[in-house]
Each structure stands twice: as C-alpha cells, then as structure tokens.
C-alpha cells in the first residue's frame, strides 16, 4: 500500500526542523521588506566580509508590530535575537524593559568601541537618548515627514510649480487645483505622525507633558490645545470641501500621489523611492507647511522610522560583535551608502558632510531636504521627539478621533478632548504596569 509511505514522508517533512548552524552569530531581526530588505542584507554582507570573527544574520520578521511580538515571545522563551529593529513608537516599551535590553551607550563602553554621541545628528539621536544623555538604541532608519507636490498638476491649474509654504497658501492652491479639475488635491500618509506629532514639533508646541514623555512615565497628552483644535478643524473643513482626501492610517497616501491622483501629499522621506519609480511623475520634495501666525514656527520636524535595540541575556563575546557592527554602521561611507540608496536620513554629521561633498545633493536636488528640515533650528524641549508608553495604541486612538472629524461625525474640539482622555488612560495603564 502506498499510504504508509506517504504518511512516513509526511511525518518526516513535519518532524524535520532544520537545525541552526552555531557560530559567533549575531541574530538581527528586522522589518525591512522588498528592496529595503536587500539593502539590509548588503550592509550585513559588507560587515561580514570586513572581518571574520562575527557573522550578522539579518532575518525579515514581518512588519514592526509582528516582529516585536515575536521578539517579546522569544525573549520570554529565552531565545531572543541579539539585535531587534523596533519602530519609534515602541521606544517607551523597550526603554521600560530594564533587564530585557542593553543600552547602546553601555554596550559600546563595555566593548571598548569608540563611540561619540556628539557625532550623531541631534534630532536623530535625541529621540533615542535618555535625559542623562545616554543613547539607548541605535538610530538605524530614520526618516521625517516631507511635503511633495506634483508639478504637472500645478502647471495645469495655472500655478507656478512651487510648493505652498503655509497652510493658507496650500488651501488657496488647493482651490485653484480643484477648479482645474484635480480630483484629489491633498492627501497624507501617517496622519497622526504628520498632523499631530510633527505638527506640534514644527510649531514648537508640546505633544505631552514632561518634555513629550521623555521626562517620565507619568506624562499626559496635550494635543487638545487651541492650536491643535484649530488645525484639525481646518483639516475637517478641507475634507468637507474636497480639499483633503483621507487615505488611511499608514502610507496609503504614497500610492495616491505616485499615481498622480493627488496633487499634493505629505509623506515619509522614504516615499521618494516609490515616487522615483514612476518616470512620468514630475515632483519635488519640500518642507511641510506651517501656520505663519504661530510664533516660533517653523521649528524643526521629528523623526520616524526605527532604531536597533540590543536584547539582554547574551554573552559578552556576542555583545562585542554587536558593538563592532554598530561601529561599522556609523562609518561615514557606510552611512552615505545607506542614505543615498534608501532615502533615510544620514545619522552622523560626518556622513552628511561626506554625501554633500560627493555631489549627491547636486545631482539629486531635494535629497537633502529631510536633513535640512530636521536641523532647521536647534531642537527645543517640544521638538526633540516623543516617548509615550503603549504609543501604538495611543496613536491609534488619535487617528480614530481624527477619522471621526474627517467623516464629519465629530467636531475637532470634542474629538481631541476625547483623544486626550483616552490617551491618558492608556498612559496610566502603561505606568501602572511598569512601576
């Protein structure tokens, strides 16, 4: 009978789990899919080729939330990776996990690797540094939100292909574009990141107390200030008038701009890679708009993206390998390579200078806009970044309330008050669980 053989083969397939090869391996879990994943593999490959004591093994573990859940479960089971890429909203969770993570500053000091915090761009490193100045995680892929316009659409509406600098100008341009038949005038990706978090930093107003949460876990949200209410109400109004098309909570706005459907979009600096793929698209990258009647605006924008955290419970030998890997990643030429091929910002001043000297920004006008927007002014307490516990849920709450405004179901003040109330409950829960 053929069945027992089939069963045996199946049993073999099911029970056989490939054994892992043992070496001084550094397990690096990341969430960079597609072309970005290849860039990560290149980086690891270069590091592995440059020495033969350590081998970095990058593994694509799915999107940021999936990868983080897997890492947490692995940690609980005693086999976490050495390096984990965690998105910026997970920073507070990682920071609170004393014993589960090793701060980068400590890692480098213990391994006696040269490490100079001042060499890193302040806005970039500041997000991942504690108040005492110790860098906790390694900034790996940082972007910021930028403003893109479609030149062809502007010309068709009889406008100069120059980006509006203020929201007033944007609305005026939007009305002309709409009159010229443009279906979608303005859209955005990552609505909370753009219109609440970066909005606050760009206008030098706080997102929350305690220096946006960096000063302690007992922070509270302050996104229902009159300025925030005014801005979200403006967006709701624009939505009603057809001047703002809501695309969703993640990067769904990118596709709308890339296809030419929308004439203006705020999206991540990393979206440039997508836009470049469509040769027919005539676009430019610009600073995000601001309200010119707010004192201090524009200040500087804050980063998004992810950083690399070092997980605890590993051997000193392995940590030395991780430290060497981070030192490698900080080298100006490595940074320049990463920055120019992905669109993420360079994290050290030296690499920024090197890229400038190489003429890359001359050949690709606008490629340095993200860094320039991040360093527009020296960061204040309101614009270094943010660090709220359970911010994955917090951001969702904010976005839900914003969606209610865009759908015309709530007015901006009620929505933002609710966002603050619900957001604070989430913060309180985090604080209680991490006492």
């Amino acid at each position: 009978m053929r069945i027992p053989k089939l069963v045996a083969a199946l049993a073999a397939a099911v029970l056989f789990t490939p054994a892992a090869q043992a070496q001084t391996e550094i397990q690096f879990w990341h969430s960079m899919g597609g072309a970005l994943g290849e860039a990560v593999n290149n980086l690891a490959g270069k590091f592995n080729a440059s020495q033969n004591e350590y081998k970095v093994v990058p593994v694509f573990k799915g999107t940021y939330p999936v990868s983080m859940t897997a890492a947490i479960a692995a940690f609980r089971a005693g086999n976490a990776p050495h390096v984990l890429q965690v998105f910026e909203v997970g920073t507070a969770t990682m920071m609170a996990a004393k014993g589960a993570v090793v701060p980068v500053a400590k890692l480098m000091a213990d391994a006696k690797e040269p490490f100079e915090p001042k060499a890193y761009l302040p806005t970039v490193a500041g997000y991942y540094t504690d108040l005492k100045g110790n860098m906790l995680s390694f900034p790996f892929n940082s972007s910021t939100v930028m403003f893109y316009i479609n030149h062809e659409a502007f010309k068709k509406a009889g406008l100069e292909p120059k980006a509006p600098k203020t929201w007033k100008e944007l609305i005026a341009a939007g009305e002309k574009l709409k009159a010229a038949g443009q279906q979608c005038v303005y859209t955005t990706s990552w609505p909370s990141w753009m219109h609440i978090e970066n909005f606050s930093a760009w206008h030098n107003v706080p997102i929350g107390t305690k220096q946006n949460g960096m000063g302690g876990f007992d922070a509270q949200f302050s996104v229902n200030s009159p300025l925030h209410v005014r801005h979200v109400a403006m967006l709701g109004d624009m939505s009603k008038k057809g001047l703002f098309t809501y695309a969703g909570r993640t990067n769904q706005g990118d596709a709308k701009f890339a296809s030419g459907e929308c004439a203006m979009a705020s999206a991540s600096a990393g979206a440039q890679a997508t836009f470049r793929k469509n040769p027919k698209l005539d676009w430019s990258i610009n600073f995000i708009p601001y309200h010119d009647d707010v004192k201090g605006a524009p200040q500087n924008s804050i980063i998004g993206g992810a950083s690399l955290w070092v997980m605890g419970g590993k051997k000193p030998q392995e940590y030395r390998g991780v430290a060497k890997f981070f030192a490698f990643l900080s080298k100006p030429d490595v940074q320049m390579d990463w920055h120019t091929s992905t669109g993420y910002v360079p994290i050290t001043l030296a690499s920024y200078e090197l890229t400038r000297k190489s003429g890359f920004y001359d050949r690709n006008p606008g490629a340095d806009m993200p860094v320039r927007q991040l360093t527009n002014k020296a960061p204040t307490a309101n614009s270094k970044g943010l660090r709220f516990g359970n911010f994955v849920q917090g951001r969702e709450v904010i976005e839900e309330e914003m969606e209610a405004v865009f759908a015309g179901k709530k007015d901006a003040k009620t929505a933002l008050d609710d966002a603050v109330k619900r957001g604070n409950e989430i913060l309180a829960k985090f604080q209680a669980a991490n006492r």
């Binding site: 397939a13 099911v14 789990t17 899919g33 597609g34 573990k61 999107t63 999936v66 991540s268 997508t274």
Partner: protein, 282 residues
C-alpha cells in the same frame, strides 16, 4: 415538482443563474486582474476582459513573490500550505479515529471523563486562546516550524464525533463475529472498522484539508519567517506591505493560486464532501 408551471421554472433558472454569476463575479475579476499589468489595473476602470500577462505574472509570483512587501516565492508558500493541509487532515483523521474507536468499543474507567474532555474543546476555538497558545508553542520552540503549524490544530472534536456516530451504526453482529473468530480489538479495527469507514474518512479528508489549507490566524501568529509562510498568509503579507503601493496583479495571481487546490478538492470529491458535511453536523 408537483405541477408544471413553466413560468416558475424559468424564474427559478433565472435566479439560479443570477446566483451563480454573483458568486462567480469576484473570481472572474480576480482572474482578469491576474492577467494584467499593474498600470492597466491602476487605470480606472480596469478592463473586464483577460489581458496578456498571464504567464508573466504567474511565473513572477511563483518564482520570486511580490517585489514590494513579502518577497517569498509563492511556490514555496504553496508547498507549505500543502504540507500543513495534508498533515492536519491526515493527522486529525488518524488520532480521531483511534480515539473514537476507544470511546465506542471499550469500557474502561474515566471513559465518560475523556469523552467530555474532547467535547469541551469545541468550546475553545483558537481565537479564544490566541495569546496563551502562542506562548505555549513559543516555549516549546515550535515557532516557524511545520510541527508548530500543524500539531496544535490536530485535536478535533468534530472528527471524533463523526466517527463515533458512524461507529454506532455499525451492526453489533460484526463485532460478535470478530470476537468469535478470536480477533482482538486492533484486528477488528483494521479488518472491519477501517474499511467500513472509507466514506467518512474521505468526507472528513475534504473538510479538514480545506480547513488546514485556509488557516489564517494560526499561521499568522506563529510564522514570522518568510520561508514558513503559507499561501493564505502570503497574500496578507503582500498587501500589508510597508513603503510602496501594492502590486495588485501579482496579489490577484497569488489569490488564484491560493484557491485552486482547495477548489479542486471540493469539486472533484464533491459527492463525499457533501455527504460528509451534511452528515457530520447532524
């Protein structure tokens, strides 16, 4: 039909045809989309006749997956799905039939207790114990493995009940005859019970193969490495893709590939499947 009412018959056919069209419509659009280029799909409205990219899209997807989100080749994912579906179907049948045989044909202490234990699992679908089951599997080191994908899903109350109901209809005379011949329980099982159960096994195979193939939540939780994706999860991972627009033509091609094997199983084994389905639940 009792009397001849041509009008009503025509109406019946019309409604049925409408039903078939409504049911088939999404499939048709999906198939068309899988034969177009991405630009053709993005240009609204997309054409409703098949394009010419059939070979390109399907070979692209089988060999190298989507370029944007997950880059896992779909052929590998189809293999994973196949292993999972077969292992679950055969595993469930195997352990349920012997468990059911034990419950029905033996008297032993704790018999009722074990029976109720199995019954209770009906009330604990995986969605109700998501995180702890994930933790158990993780603690056992079974994440991202075929064992982890299949073993937790192998205990099934429905299969045990189906066999139990069937066994209860097997005439006692057969059992008596076997005992008179001096056959032990396992002999009786292999020579008499198993052959008689062929139809039930076939029906159950169809149902469980589809169940295993279409699993979503469980593989979603425990596979985070591309090499272990099943094809249903692969589609999801292609869409929830990070920094770029979805390649719908490739996603649709994958969707078609994902539904062909179970659809084939259903259509080819239709008779057993229908019989088994209707009789299982009753």
């Amino acid at each position: 039909m009792v009397e001849n009412r041509p009008y009503l018959t025509a109406l019946s056919h019309a409604i049925l045809i409408l039903g078939v069209l409504a049911v088939a419509f999404p499939l048709y659009v999906t198939f068309v989309a899988s034969t177009l280029t991405l630009e053709q799909i993005m240009a609204v409205p997309m054409p409703l006749v098949p394009g010419d990219q059939l070979i390109e899209n399907y070979s692209q997807v089988l060999a190298a997956g989507s370029r944007k989100g997950s880059a896992a080749p779909v052929s590998a994912m189809l293999f994973n799905s196949l292993v999972m579906a077969l292992a679950i179907a055969l595993g469930k049948i195997a352990i349920s039939i012997i468990a059911s045989f034990a419950i029905v044909y033996f008297r032993f202490p704790l018999r009722s207790f074990f029976f109720w234990m199995i019954f209770v699992t009906l009330m604990l679908p995986v969605e109700v114990r998501i995180i702890p089951t994930f933790k158990v599997v993780s603690d056992l080191g079974m994440l991202n493995s075929y064992v982890g994908l299949t073993l937790p899903l192998i205990a099934s109350a429905t299969a045990t009940f189906l066999f139990r109901q069937f066994f209860l209809t097997v005439p006692d005379e057969l059992t008596e005859a076997a005992r008179i011949d001096g056959a032990g329980p396992m002999r009786f099982f292999l020579d008499v019970v198993l052959p008689l159960s062929k139809t039930s096994i076939a029906a159950l195979f169809v149902i469980q193969f589809i169940y295993g193939w279409n699993q979503y939540l469980w593989p979603l939780l425990i596979t985070s490495e591309e090499s272990m994706y099943t094809v249903v999860i692969g589609i999801n991972r292609m869409i929830v893709g990070g920094d770029a627009a979805n390649e719908w033509n490739l996603v649709m091609a994958t969707a078609i590939l994902a539904l062909i094997p179970p659809a084939l199983v259903v259509m080819l084994m239709q008779r057993w499947f229908v019989k088994g389905l209707v009789e299982t639940e009753k």
